[in-house]
C-alpha cells in the first residue's frame, strides 16, 4: 500500500516538472533575496570592523580630540610628562588611485617607533627599524604596502604609486612591501598605505594635529591616572566603542534593507502557497480516490507535506546558492550607499556567515510550511466523496471568500493600528505586513465583485468569449484568487516604493532649493560625498571675498561630533537675516529662534530631534574642546542631508568653544549678472595649486540629487526582485491553471471554437486577472506608500516627506500587472491552440 502511495506522490511532480520547478524557483528567489541582503550588510559591517580592529591593533584605549583632532604637542606631553610610553599616534585618511580601476586606499600615518607594541604586523621581526620602516622617515612621500595590495596595484619597491589625496594628485614612493601572509596582519594591510605620520600630516593638511592616540593600559588604576592627566577636549574611548558607534550609524539603513528583503520573502510565500494549493486542487480526484480506497487523513496529509517539504528544501538550498551570488552583486550597492552617507568602508569580498544562511534556510522552510499548511489540511480534511467533485471545492471557495475578505479587512485594521501605535520600527513593519496580507485576503472577494460588475459589459462589448473569460475567473477562484493576490502585492510594492522614492526626491529637491541659495560653493575635496569635514587651507575665504563680483560670503565649519550615541554632523555657520529664509522649521518660532541662536542656543535637525525625542527648550550635550556643555535647543529645522542628525551653531561661538577657526566650506553670493560658472573658473584660477572643490549652485544640487538617486539604487533593485518573484509566481499559477484545463479547451475546440478564439479566451482571462491585480494594487500600494512615507521613514530616518502623487507610477504599475498576466497566458494559449481537439480531450 505505502510504496504505491509514495509512488503516486512521486509521479505527480515528475509528470508536471515545470510546476514543481516554478515552485522551487519561487522559494529559491525569496530565500535568495533575504540572505543576499543579510550577507551584503554583514560583509560591509565585517569589513569595517576588521579594518578598524586591525588598525586598532592591541590598543586597549584610544584618545580622541575635537573636530581638528589632538594637538600633536599633547602627544609629546603624554610621553614626557605622563610617561605613557605605550602610546601610538595615528592619522587616518584616504587616497584614491588614479590608475584604473580606481581603488580607495586607507592612508595610515604612523610613528614607526611607537608601533611595535600595537601593530606587530608593521614590524614583522619585532623591531621598528626593519622592513624599510626607517625609510619612511628619510625618504619624501615614501610608503609601505602589504604584499597583496602591492600585487593588486602592480607596484614594486622603488616604483611610484599615483594617487589623489585631498584632491591633489601626487606620487607615493613605495619603499618596501611587507609580507602579509600571516593571517592576522593581512586585514591590517589590506588596501592600506603605511606612511610616516609627518608625511600624512602634509598630505592630509593636518599640520600640528593627529587624529588619535592608541594606548595600552593594563589596569583600571592606570586608566584613572591617564584620565586625570587628560586636558579638556581630549577624551578616552575604546576601539570597540568607537567602532560600535560608527557601525550603529547604518542601523536604520540595514533594517530597511532587511524589511524590503522580507517583502520578497512574503511574495515568495504566496508563490509556495499558490503552487501547493494548486497541486492539491489538481489532485483532488486522485486524493479522493485514495481516501475512498482507505488511505487515512493522516497519510494524505503526510503525503502532501513530504511533497511540499521536498519543494521547500530544494528551493531553499537553491536559494542559498543564488543568494550568495546575488549578495556579491548587492554588496557594491550597499557599500556605495554606506560610503556616500555614513563612513568609508572598503569591501570587495562577501563574507558568508553561518547565521544568515541558517536564517535564510529556516525562513525558507518555515515560510513554505506555513504556506503548505492550509492546502494540506484542506486536502486531508475533505470527505472523500466531496473531494472527487472538483466543483465542490470551487463552491466552497466562493462561499468562504466573503469571510476571508472580512478577515483581511480585520488584518488591514490591525495592521494600521499596530503601525500607528507601535513603539518601534519592527512594529511598523509588522503592521505593514498585516496590512499587506489583509489586502491580499480581500483580493479574491474584490475579484468576484469586479467580475460580476464587469460581466454585462464584457458580454456586450466582447461577446461570448469575453463573457466566458469573466466567468472563468470567478469559477476557478481557488487558483486565480491567490495568483491575483500575489501579483497585486508585487504591483502594490512597486507602487509604494515608487511613490516613496518620488516623494523623497520631490521633498529633497524642494529642500535643496530652499537651503542652497549661494551662487557658488567652495569646499576642500572630500572622499565622502556627504561629509565635507576637511578644512580649507587658511586664507582661502579672505582671498575669495576679495574677488570681483562677490557680494558676500557665508562660511561653514562642518565636523563629525561624537555623542553618547551615534556621531552627529555639527555645522557651524554664519547666519544673517538674509539667511533666515533658508531654514524650514519643524518646531519653534523663528522670531524666538534667531535671537536665542545668536545668544547661546543651538538648532538641530528633525531626524536628530525625532530619534532622541528632543524638543525646543530641551538641552543637548556638546562635547566641546573646552569642556562639555549643555546647550539649549532653540529650533528644529527640516533637513534631508543626513539621517545622522545635524547640530548647528554660530561660527564665532564654535571658534570659541572648539578653539578652532578653520573653515570647511564657503557659500559665495555674487552680484546679479555674474555668471556662476565663470566665477567658478575665476576661483579655480585664483588658486591654481590648492585643491578646492568649486561648484555652482546648479552643480551642487545636481550632485546632491545624484547621491540621493544612488542611495535608492538598491531599493530599486529589491523592488525589481520582488516583481520578478511575483512574475514567476503569476506565470506559474496561470500556466498551470490553463494547462489543467486542456480537456475543457479541447471540448471548446470540439464544439467549434477556433484557435484564434481560444487565444482570445485565454489572453482575455489572464489580462482580466492582471487588470484586477493592477486595480486593487492602486489603493493598496498607495496605503503602503503612506505607511512607508509617514510611519516607517519617520521612525527609522526621522524625515518628514511631502507625499508626491505621480500618476505615471500608477500607470506603469498597472501596465506591469497586465503585461505580466498577458505574458503568462501566451505559453498555455500557444500550447493549447496547437493541440488537436481529439488529443486534448484524451487528457487525464
Amino acid at each position: 500500500m505505502i510504496p504505491i502511495l509514495w509512488k503516486s506522490t512521486l509521479r505527480w511532480p515528475l509528470r508536471r516538472p515545470w510546476q514543481a520547478l516554478l515552485a522551487i524557483i519561487g522559494v529559491a528567489m525569496g530565500v535568495a533575496v533575504v540572505i543576499a541582503i543579510d550577507i551584503a550588510n554583514e560583509s560591509a559591517r565585517r569589513a569595517f570592523l576588521a579594518s578598524t580592529e586591525s588598525i586598532s591593533g592591541k590598543a586597549t584605549d584610544q584618545l580622541i580630540g575635537g573636530p581638528e583632532g589632538i594637538p600633536e604637542a599633547f602627544f609629546v606631553s603624554l610621553r614626557r610628562d605622563a610617561g605613557i610610553r605605550m602610546s601610538a599616534p595615528l592619522i587616518e585618511g584616504y587616497a584614491i588611485t588614479t590608475q584604473q580601476p580606481t581603488r580607495t586606499l586607507t592612508i595610515l600615518g604612523i610613528d614607526p617607533f611607537s608601533e611595535v607594541a600595537f601593530r606587530p604586523a608593521m614590524s614583522v621581526a619585532g623591531t621598528p627599524l626593519q622592513n624599510g620602516m626607517a625609510a619612511l622617515l628619510t625618504q619624501p612621500d615614501s610608503v609601505i604596502l602589504g604584499a597583496k595590495t602591492a600585487a593588486a596595484l602592480g607596484v614594486v619597491p622603488g616604483r611610484d604609486l599615483l594617487v589623489r589625496v585631498s584632491g591633489i594628485e601626487r606620487p607615493m614612493r613605495v619603499v618596501a612591501v611587507l609580507n602579509d601572509d600571516a593571517g592576522s596582519s593581512s586585514a591590517l594591510l589590506n588596501d592600506v598605505v603605511l606612511t610616516d605620520i609627518g608625511t600624512a600630516q602634509r598630505w592630509l593638511q593636518r599640520d600640528g594635529f593627529i587624529d588619535r592616540i592608541d594606548v595600552i593600559l593594563h589596569s583600571e588604576a592606570e586608566r584613572a591616572i591617564l584620565r586625570d592627566f587628560l586636558p579638556t577636549g581630549i577624551r578616552m574611548t575604546t576601539p570597540a566603542q568607537r567602532a560600535q558607534s560608527t557601525t550603529d550609524m547604518t542601523a536604520s539603513f540595514e533594517i530597511n534593507l532587511n524589511a524590503l528583503s522580507l517583502l520578497a520573502m512574503v511574495v515568495g510565500m504566496f508563490l509556495i502557497y499558490n503552487t501547493m494549493t494548486f497541486s492539491v486542487v489538481q489532485r483532488r480526484q486522485l486524493l479522493g480516490t485514495l481516501r475512498c480506497i482507505g488511505v487515512s487523513q493522516r497519510e494524505v496529509a503526510v503525503l502532501m507535506l513530504v511533497e511540499g517539504s521536498a519543494i521547500a528544501i530544494i528551493g531553499t538550498v537553491v536559494g542559498l546558492g543564488l543568494g550568495i551570488g546575488l549578495a556579491q552583486g548587492l554588496l557594491a550597492l550597499v557599500a556605495r550607499t554606506i560610503n556616500d552617507i555614513y563612513f568609508v568602508v572598503n569591501v570587495t569580498q562577501i563574507h558568508i556567515g553561518l547565521i544568515p544562511l541558517l536564517k535564510g534556510a529556516v525562513l525558507g522552510i518555515v515560510a513554505s510550511c506555513v504556506a503548505l499548511a492550509i492546502p494540506t489540511l484542506e486536502a486531508a480534511r475533505t470527505p472523500p466523496r466531496t473531494v472527487l467533485r472538483r466543483s465542490s471545492y470551487e463552491e466552497q471557495m466562493t462561499r468562504i471568500v466573503p469571510y476571508i475578505a472580512a478577515l483581511g479587512l480585520l488584518g488591514i485594521v490591525v495592521g494600521g493600528v499596530v503601525m500607528w501605535l507601535g513603539p518601534s520600527i519592527w512594529f511598523s513593519y509588522a503592521g505593514l505586513l498585516f496590512l499587506t496580507l489583509g489586502a491580499a485576503m480581500v483580493t479574491p472577494w474584490t475579484t468576484v465583485m469586479l467580475m460580476h460588475a464587469l460581466r454585462p459589459l464584457a458580454v456586450r462589448f466582447g461577446g461570448l468569449i469575453a463573457g466566458m473569460a469573466v466567468r472563468d475567473v470567478i469559477t476557478s477562484l481557488s487558483r486565480t484568487g491567490v495568483a491575483i493576490a500575489a501579483l497585486m502585492i508585487a504591483v502594490a510594492v512597486t507602487i509604494a516604493v515608487g511613490l516613496m522614492v518620488a516623494s523623497f526626491r520631490v521633498t529633497v529637491v524642494d529642500w535643496l532649493t530652499t537651503t542652497i541659495r549661494a551662487d557658488v560653493f567652495v569646499s576642500a575635496p572630500a572622499l565622502n560625498a556627504n561629509r565635507l569635514d576637511t578644512a580649507l587651507p587658511a586664507g582661502v575665504a579672505d582671498r575669495i571675498a576679495d574677488l570681483p563680483g562677490v557680494v558676500r560670503i557665508r562660511r561653514y565649519r562642518s565636523s563629525m561630533l561624537p555623542t553618547d550615541r551615534t556621531p552627529v554632523l555639527q555645522i557651524a555657520l554664519d547666519v544673517t537675516s538674509a539667511d533666515y529664509e533658508t531654514f524650514l522649521w519643524a518646531e519653534g518660532n523663528p522670531d524666538q529662534i534667531w535671537p536665542a541662536f545668536a545668544n547661546d542656543a543651538i538648532i538641530i535637525s528633525e531626524p536628530l530631534a525625532l530619534k532622541r525625542d528632543l524638543h525646543v527648550g530641551d538641552t543637548f550635550l556638546l562635547q566641546t574642546t573646552t569642556g562639555d556643555r549643555l546647550v539649549p535647543i532653540a529650533g528644529i529645522f527640516y533637513d534631508y542631508g543626513t539621517e545622522l542628525g545635524v547640530v548647528m551653531l554660530p561660527l564665532d561661538r564654535y571658534a570659541r568653544w572648539y578653539a578652532d577657526d578653520s573653515l570647511t566650506s564657503l557659500g559665495v553670493f555674487v552680484t546679479p549678472g555674474t555668471d556662476p560658472e565663470a566665477f567658478v573658473e575665476a576661483v579655480r584660477t585664483t588658486f591654481p595649486n590648492v585643491a578646492l572643490l568649486v561648484r555652482s549652485n546648479a552643480a551642487l544640487r545636481a550632485t546632491s540629487v545624484e547621491v540621493l538617486d544612488r542611495t535608492f539604487a538598491i531599493t530599486n533593485v529589491l523592488q525589481l526582485l520582488a516583481t520578478i518573484v511575483a512574475f514567476v509566481g503569476i506565470l506559474a499559477a496561470l500556466t498551470a491553471m490553463q494547462l489543467e484545463r486542456m480537456r475543457e479547451f479541447g471540448m471548446l475546440r470540439a464544439i467549434g471554437l477556433d484557435p484564434r478564439q481560444l487565444w482570445q479566451l485565454i489572453l482575455t482571462e489572464t489580462s482580466l486577472m492582471g487588470a484586477v491585480a493592477g486595480i486593487v494594487a492602486v489603493p493598496v500600494g498607495t496605503a503602503m506608500a503612506l505607511a512607508l512615507i509617514y510611519v516607517i521613514n519617520r521612525i527609522s530616518f526621522g524625515w518628514t516627506l511631502q507625499f508626491a502623487m505621480q500618476p505615471e507610477i500608477y500607470i506603469q504599475a498597472a501596465l506591469t500587472a497586465v503585461i505580466a498576466a498577458v505574458l503568462a497566458g501566451i505559453y498555455p494559449a500557444w500550447r493549447i491552440a496547437r493541440v488537436s481537439p481529439a488529443v486534448a480531450l484524451r487528457e487525464e
Binding site: 605622563a82 621581526a125 621598528p128 627599524l129 624599510g132 622617515l137 619597491p157 614612493r173 609627518g198
Partner: protein
C-alpha cells in the same frame, strides 16, 4: 690613549645606524621583510654626506660639550654603574642614549614637526646580583617634536620621560631618571676627578685616514647615590658610575667581527679600561688596547702588546644561541696586574634590536703580588650576530 678606544661603542651604533642609513639609501631597491642587513653591508654606505668629520683636535668646553653636536652624524651618552643597597646586595645598571643623524640630502622642507634630522635609541638595563635577574629595555624615538633630544644648557638628554640632566647651577652633577613599568632608576652622579680627554686631547684617531676619528671624553669615576625600583620595591643605592661621551662622522672597517670591552673600578682608586678587537680570522686586532687612570690621576696608555686576554669557559645564550666567554682573565704586563673578571649574572645579554652582552662584573686579582678587588662593566659583542 689608544686611538681606537671609541670603537667599542661604535659597534652598537653601527648596527643601529645600519638600519637607518641602509634603509634610507637602499631600501627602495631591497626586498624588505628579510630581517636586518649584515654589518658589512651597513658600513659600506654610511649616512655621512653633509656632516662634518673629526679632523683635528678641538677646544672642549663644558658644560657646552655635554650637549649635542648635530653637525656630526653620530653621538652617544653612555652610563654604566655598580650599585649596592644598605644590606650590601649588588646591582648594576646601564643607561645609554644614541643620536644618529638621518641622511642629510633627503631632508625635506619641514612642513611637519614630525620631520626629523635625527633618531635616538636608548638602552636601559638593571642587573640584580642577589636574585640573579637582568632586565633590559629599549626605546626609539625621532628627534622631531622633542620626543627625544639633547641640549647643553642646562644639560639634558632625553627619550620620552627617560632622561639624564644637570641643573644649571651644578653642571658637574648629573641625574639619571629612567622608569619603564616594573623597573626604575633615579640616581645622582657626581664626578670624582678630572674629565679625561681620550686619544690626542680628545681627538680619537681611528685609522690613518684623516677624518676617520671621533671626539671623545670620559668621566670614569662618578659617585652615585639614589634609588632603584625593581617590581614594587624601591631600594636606596650607592656606588660608582662611568660616563663616556663621543661624537663622530665615520665609516668603520669591516675586518673586525666584535669587541670585548672592560671598564673597571679598582678599590685602590684606579680606573681601568681595556678593549680587545677580534678579527674575522680569530686573532686579536693590533689596534686593541686600553688605558689606566692611576690613583695619582696620571694616565697610562696600553697597547695591544701590553695586554693578554684569555676567555675562561663558555656561556651559551639561550636566546640567541651565541657562545660567549663565561669569564675572562686579563694580564697587563707593564703594571704586573692580573685580573679575573666574572659576571655578577651569567645572562646579561640584551634582548633588543641589536643583540649584545653588557653587564656588571666582579674583579679579583693581584698587582705586583698584592691582592686587589674591584667591579665594573663588561661588554661583549659579535658573539650573537655572527651568522
Amino acid at each position: 690613549m689608544n686611538p681606537h678606544t671609541h670603537v667599542r661603542r661604535a659597534h652598537i651604533w653601527w648596527l643601529f645606524a645600519v638600519f637607518l642609513s641602509a634603509c634610507g639609501v637602499q631600501a627602495a631597491g631591497s626586498t624588505a621583510g628579510q630581517g636586518y642587513l649584515t654589518v658589512a653591508e651597513g658600513m659600506a654606505r654610511p649616512a655621512t654626506a653633509g656632516y662634518l668629520r673629526a679632523e683635528q683636535p678641538r677646544e672642549f668646553s663644558f658644560p657646552a660639550d655635554h650637549g649635542p653636536h648635530p653637525d656630526y652624524a653620530v653621538e652617544w651618552w653612555y652610563y654604566t654603574g655598580n650599585l649596592r643597597d644598605t644590606q650590601g646586595n649588588r646591582y648594576g645598571y646601564q643607561f645609554t642614549l644614541f643620536r644618529t643623524g638621518l641622511p642629510r640630502q633627503s631632508q625635506q622642507v619641514p612642513a611637519s614637526k614630525w620631520q626629523s634630522d635625527a633618531v635616538y635609541m636608548a638602552h636601559f638595563t638593571v642587573t640584580d646580583a642577589t636574585n640573579q635577574t637582568f632586565i633590559a629595555r629599549e626605546r626609539f624615538n625621532r628627534a622631531g617634536l622633542d620626543l627625544a633630544g639633547a641640549q647643553a644648557q642646562p644639560f639634558q638628554v632625553w627619550m620620552d620621560d627617560w632622561s639624564v640632566a644637570s641643573s644649571a647651577d651644578n653642571p658637574g652633577q648629573m641625574r639619571i631618571q629612567v622608569a619603564d613599568g616594573d623597573v626604575a632608576l633615579d640616581v645622582t652622579l657626581d664626578a670624582r676627578g678630572p674629565t679625561v680627554l681620550q686619544g690626542d686631547a680628545g681627538l680619537s684617531q681611528k685609522s690613518a685616514e684623516a677624518g676617520n676619528a671621533s671626539y671623545y671624553y670620559s668621566m670614569p669615576r662618578m659617585q652615585t647615590t639614589g634609588s632603584l625600583r625593581i617590581g614594587e620595591k624601591t631600594i636606596p643605592v650607592t656606588g660608582l658610575s662611568w660616563m663616556d661621551r663621543e661624537w663622530s662622522t665615520s665609516a668603520l672597517g669591516t675586518n673586525q667581527v666584535g669587541w670585548d670591552w672592560f671598564a673597571l673600578h679598582l678599590d685602590d682608586g684606579s680606573d681601568i679600561m681595556l678593549y680587545q678587537l677580534r678579527n674575522r680570522d680569530g686573532t686579536t686586532d693590533p689596534f686593541s688596547g686600553g688605558s689606566v687612570r692611576n690613583t695619582d690621576g696620571t694616565l697610562t696608555t696600553l697597547r695591544a702588546s701590553d695586554i693578554s686576554w684569555e676567555p675562561k669557559g663558555e656561556w651559551l645564550s639561550p636566546h640567541t644561541q651565541g657562545r660567549y666567554p663565561a669569564e675572562w682573565e686579563a694580564r697587563i704586563a707593564p703594571l704586573e696586574l692580573t685580573l679575573a673578571i666574572a659576571p655578577l649574572v651569567a645572562d646579561q645579554e640584551l634582548q633588543v634590536t641589536v643583540r649584545y652582552w653588557e653587564g656588571a662584573v666582579d674583579v679579583r686579582g693581584t698587582r705586583r703580588g698584592v691582592p686587589v678587588r674591584g667591579e665594573g662593566y663588561l661588554e661583549m659583542t659579535g658573539y650573537a650576530d655572527v651568522r
